[in-house]
């Protein structure tokens, strides 16, 4: 019950700040325009790199929103209140991740096919693209809470956040972009997707604990 209320509040706060929703999408559109301009607009050239570009854009556009997941709550003292009221911190972190996923992850996932069309992504891979992002966007949000909790006290921590998160996200990128690539080549992507699922389960179990530990250190 308490958890539900927390998620509801976090989603509402995030929803009211519209920039969280449209910023990643505008970012993706801006960057995807640069590829034909830089590479030449040949459909063959673009289709070849389309799986990687769609995936990397989804990842980067999520990355720019991560910095602020905990910042407001840290600065206005809400996090202290959580601790004082005996609220379990992993649960609070999980609620933050859920809210972030609902307001940023899902729009990014739903927008990916648009980028796919612009990049001439072969038709047979849209299903796998959506499926792989459905598994991966929660991982982005979960690991994002860890990164955001680590840099919550730092001014201009965005660059540091990227350095901390990128190594953790590299397996996700390998499996996710790999899954889409396999389908464009006409192969089955099941293996990739299962490994992605494994990453998601691991992130789901460990990330809230790590984020809670980081917040605890920061509040000491």
């Amino acid at each position: 019950m308490r958890f539900g209320a927390l998620v509801k509040r976090d989603v509402l706060v995030s929803w009211r700040k519209k920039s969280n929703i449209y910023q990643p999408l505008v970012f993706q559109l801006l960057i995807v325009t640069m590829f034909p301009l830089g590479l030449g607009a040949g459909a063959q050239t673009l289709a070849k790199i389309a799986p990687a570009v769609v995936w990397i854009l989804a990842l980067l556009s999520t990355l720019i929103t991560l910095e602020n997941i905990f910042k407001d709550d840290y600065e206005d003292g809400s996090l202290d209140v959580y601790v004082l009221s005996g609220m379990s911190l992993p649960l609070a972190a999980f609620s933050k991740a859920t809210a972030h996923w609902l307001t940023t992850g899902i729009p990014v996932m739903l927008f990916a096919p648009v980028i796919g069309v612009l990049m001439h992504l072969p038709e047979q891979s849209y299903g796998v693209l959506l499926l792989s992002l459905l598994l991966a966007t929660p991982i982005f949000s979960l690991l994002g809470t860890v990164g955001s909790a680590l840099i919550v006290n730092i001014k201009n921590g965005g660059m540091l956040l990227s350095v901390l998160i990128m190594p953790l996200l590299s397996p996700v990128l390998i499996f996710g972009a790999g899954a889409v690539l396999e389908t464009t080549l006409g192969n089955s992507a099941l293996g990739h997707l299962l490994l992605l699922l494994g990453c998601a389960v691991l992130a789901l179990t460990l990330a809230p604990l790590a984020a809670a530990a980081a917040i605890k250190v920061n509040l000491e």
Partner: protein
């Protein structure tokens, strides 16, 4: 056993850590220099030529020890990170933060010598093969630990605890990253000629310098790490009495030696 336990507890307190390890610095450095000289002379001039790679394989005598060290040191960073995070040991914090720079240096050496080896073997300085890629990601992990520590410079204890957390997260992720990268290269490209080659190292005359160099890098790591850990402890504990005693005591010893 009892004595070992006592030794461990002694190392856990900053003053006795400082006192005990002060005696180790010089021997470690001397051992490192002797082993390096012996290993390199043996490896570069006396070890036989490789029948496939000719003389270029001799890069192995710096490349592989550095690669071993880059991973070994990350394991130490992770383990001392756990000790620093769970038990809040000051010495573990010092060891962790002292290991990170030297680990990053060994990782850089591995990457650069790997590139210099890749040029004659692969025809290109950089190839996205599994070893090179995971080594590059390892460098990012080191940079992350250093970055978070230096970002909190006004509160070193807090910084160390957060850095320990980052190191632990990295330690958990390292196997996943390595596995995924190896899997990725096995799918996306035909395996390139591995630097170690099928020829491998079978000859004792080739193996001996390699092992000697592996020991030399370990000794140098211990020297560099202990030296940095001592500085770290002096800095974080500078208002404590033992620091003043240790430093003035040192000076007294030196003047006595001069008089004699």
């Amino acid at each position: 056993m009892n004595r070992l336990l006592k030794f461990y507890h002694e190392l856990g307190s900053p003053p006795s850590f400082y006192r005990i390890t002060s005696h180790w610095l010089k021997p470690m450095l001397i051992l490192a220099i002797i082993f390096t000289l012996y290993g390199l002379i043996d490896g570069l001039f006396f070890a036989p030529e490789d029948y496939q790679q000719g003389d270029s394989y001799r890069i192995i005598f710096v490349h592989v020890p550095a690669a071993w060290m880059s991973m070994f040191i990350y394991a130490i960073v992770g383990i001392s990170g756990i000790m620093a995070f769970v038990w809040r040991m000051k010495v573990a914090e010092a060891v962790m933060m002292a290991s990170v720079p030297i680990g990053a240096i060994f990782t850089t050496i591995t990457l650069l010598t790997g590139m210099l080896w890749g040029k004659p073997m692969w025809g290109t300085y950089w190839d996205w093969d599994a070893r090179m890629t995971s080594e590059l990601i390892l460098l990012f992990l080191y940079i992350g630990v250093m970055g978070i520590y230096s970002a909190y410079d006004e509160d070193p204890r807090k910084a160390a605890r957060l850095a320990a957390l980052v190191a632990i997260i990295g330690l958990i992720n390292l196997p996943i990253i390595r596995y995924s990268v190896y899997w990725w290269t096995s799918i996306h490209q035909g395996s390139s000629v591995s630097l170690m080659g099928e020829s491998g190292i079978k000859d004792w005359a080739m193996l001996r310098p390699l092992l000697v160099m592996a020991l030399a890098t370990k000794f140098y790591y211990i020297h560099s790490m202990l030296c940095r850990a001592q500085s770290h402890l002096l800095k974080t504990e500078q208002d404590k009495n033992w620091v003043k005693l240790a430093l003035t005591g040192e000076r007294k010893d030196k003047t006595q030696g001069g008089n004699l």
